[in-house]
Symmetry: C2
Subunit: 324 residues, 2 copies
C-alpha cells in the first residue's frame, strides 16, 4: 500500500509528463499553464489510493486519475471566468493572462481531454467508470449554478446550502474514490460506501472551511481570516445567523452586508460578535460532526481489512483538523 504523499507525488510527476499537442499553441499553452500551477493533487491521489486498497494496479488507474485532475482544473478555469477572479494559486488566472475566449475554449478542450484520459480505463470497466464520471461532472456544474444563484438571492435555506456544497465540492471527491474503487475491483456496494465516505467528508471539510474563515488561527489557516465576511459570502455561518437573528440582530447584520459598509476589521469584528451571540459556530460544528460521522460510518461498512481502511482514516483525520 502506498500512502497519500507517495500517491500525490506519482500524480504530480504524471501531470508533468502529460502529453498535449503542440498546436494550436494558443489552445494548449493555457492548458499547460493551469496544470503547471500545482495544487495538492488530492482528488487523483485518492482515486489511486482507492484502487490500490482494493488490490488494483496503480499504473492502470493513472490515466483515469489524471482525468479527474484535468477535469478539476477545467472547472477552475471556467469558474474563474464566471467569478471574475484575477488570481489562482497566487498566479494570474488563465483568462486574466490569455483572455476570456481562450479561457472558455481551453477549458472546453480540457473537459474533452479528461474524457480521453478516462477512456483509457480497462474496457470492461469503461461503462461504469464513465457513468460515475459524467454524473459527477453534471453535479459539479449544478453546484456551480446554485452557487451563482445564491449570490443573487436574498435568502438561502441551510438545506439548499448543504446541497450546493455537496454538488460543488463533495461529489468530485466521492466520484474520484468510487472510480478508484471500481478500477480496483471493488464490489458495487463497497464502491457506493466509498462514494458516501468521500461525499460526507467533503461536506464536513467545507463546513470546517466556513468555520475556520472566522475562527481559525491566522497562523495555521491558509487564507485571510474574515475573508468570507468581507466578501458577504453566504456561508453556513451567515445563513444560520440570518435564520436565527431576532429583528434587531437581523437589521444590524443587514446593515453590515449593505453597500455602504466598506470592508474593515470593524465589520469582521461586529459580524463575528453576532455569530458568537447566535452561537452559529456550534450549529456549524454539529453539522460538520454529523457529516464526519456519516463518513466514518460509511467507511466502517466497507469490506476491507482494518489496516487498509486506516489509510482512508488517516486522510480524513488530516483533512478535518478539529483543533478544538
Amino acid at each position: 500500500m502506498k500512502d497519500l504523499r507517495e500517491l500525490q507525488h506519482i500524480i504530480s510527476e504524471a501531470v508533468e509528463r502529460l502529453e498535449l499537442p503542440d498546436a494550436p499553441v494558443e489552445l494548449y499553452e493555457p492548458v499547460r499553464y493551469i496544470l503547471s500551477l500545482g495544487g495538492k493533487r488530492m482528488r487523483p491521489a485518492l482515486l489511486l489510493m482507492a484502487s490500490d486498497l482494493f488490490g488494483g494496479d496503480i499504473t492502470a488507474a493513472l490515466s483515469p486519475a489524471l482525468a479527474i485532475e484535468v477535469f478539476h482544473n477545467f472547472t477552475l478555469v471556467h469558474d474563474d471566468i464566471m467569478d471574475n477572479a484575477p488570481l489562482r494559486r497566487g498566479k494570474a488566472t488563465l483568462h486574466e493572462r490569455w483572455g476570456r475566449n481562450a479561457g472558455i475554449l481551453s477549458g472546453d478542450v480540457m473537459l474533452v481531454l479528461a474524457y480521453q484520459l478516462l477512456a483509457k480505463a480497462e474496457s470492461r470497466l469503461l461503462g461504469p467508470v464513465l457513468e460515475v464520471f459524467s454524473k459527477t461532472a453534471v453535479g459539479v456544474c449544478e453546484g456551480q449554478q446554485l452557487d451563482m444563484d445564491f449570490e443573487k438571492r436574498a435568502t438561502v435555506h441551510i438545506d439548499e446550502y448543504l446541497e450546493m456544497i455537496r454538488l460543488k465540492t463533495s461529489v468530485l471527491l466521492g466520484g474520484a474514490l468510487k472510480i478508484g474503487a471500481l478500477l480496483g475491483g471493488a464490489s458495487q456496494q463497497d464502491a457506493e460506501h466509498l462514494y458516501s465516505f468521500g461525499e460526507h467528508l467533503g461536506i464536513a471539510f467545507q463546513l470546517q472551511d466556513d468555520i475556520l474563515d472566522v475562527y481559525g488561527d491566522p497562523e495555521k489557516f491558509g487564507k485571510q481570516v474574515g475573508g468570507d465576511i468581507m466578501a458577504n459570502k453566504k456561508t453556513f455561518l451567515l445563513i444560520k445567523a440570518l435564520e436565527l437573528a431576532d429583528w434587531g440582530q437581523a437589521s444590524e447584520l443587514k446593515d453590515w452586508l449593505g453597500p455602504d459598509n466598506a470592508n474593515s476589521d470593524e465589520k469582521v469584528n461586529a459580524i463575528t460578535q453576532l455569530y458568537n451571540d447566535l452561537k452559529v459556530r456550534e450549529y456549524a460544528e454539529r453539522e460538520m460532526e454529523t457529516h464526519a460521522e456519516k463518513a466514518f460510518k460509511a467507511l466502517d461498512e466497507i469490506s476491507l481489512p482494518p489496516q487498509h481502511k486506516q489509510y482512508l482514516k488517516n486522510f480524513a483525520d488530516g483533512l478535518l483538523v478539529r483543533e478544538n
Copy 2:
C-alpha cells in the same frame, strides 16, 4: 432504408422528447432553449443513416445521434459567446438572453450530457465510439481556435485555411458518419472511408458557402450576399485574392479592408470586381471540386451495395448545389 428527411424527422422528435433535469432551472432552461431553436439536425440524421446502411438498428443509434446534436449545439453556444453573436437561427443567442456565465455553464453541462448520451451505445462498441467522438471534439475546439487566431493575423495561408475549415466543420460530419458506421457494424476500413467521405464533403460544402456568399443567387442563398466581404471575413476567396494580387490590387484590397471603409454596396462591388479580375472564384471552384471528388472516391471504396450508397450520393448532391 430510410431517407434523410425521415431520419431528420426522427431526430427532431427525439430532441423534443429529450429528458433533462428540472433543477437548477437556470442551468437547464437555457439548454432546452438552444435545443428548441431547431436547425436541420443534419449531423445526427447522417449518423442514423450510416448505421442504417450497414444494417444497424436505428433505435440503438438514437442516443449517440442525439449526443452529436447536443455536442453541436454546445459548440454553437460557446462559439456565440466568443464571437459576441447576438442572434442564432433568428433568435437571441443563449448568452444574450441569460448572460455570459449561463452560456458558459449551460454549454459545459451540454458537453457532459453529450457524453452521457454517447455512453448509451452498446458496451461492446463504447470504446471505439468514444474515441471517435473525443477526437472529433478536440478537432472542433482546435478549429475554433484557429478561426479566432486567423481573425487577428494579417496573413493566412490557403493550406492553413483549409485545415481550419476541416477541423471546425468537417470533422464533425465525418465523425457523425463514422460513429454511425461503427454502430451499424461496419468494418474499420469502411468506417474510415465514410469518415473521409464526410470530411471532404464538409470542406467542399464550406468552400461552396464561401463562393455563394459572393456569387450566389440572393433568392436561393439563405444569407445576405456579400456578408463575408462586409465582415472582412478571411474566406478562401479573400485569402487567395491577397495571395494573387499585384502591388496595386493588394493596396486597393487593403484599403477596402481598412477601418475607414464603412460597409457598403460599393465595398462589396469593388472587392467582387477584384475577385473577378484575379479569377479567385475559379480557384475556389477547383478546390471545391477536388474535395468533392475525394468524397465520392471514398464513397466508391465502401463495400456497400450501390443502392445503399445512393442515399449518401443523394445527400452529397443535395448539399453541393453546383448551380453553375
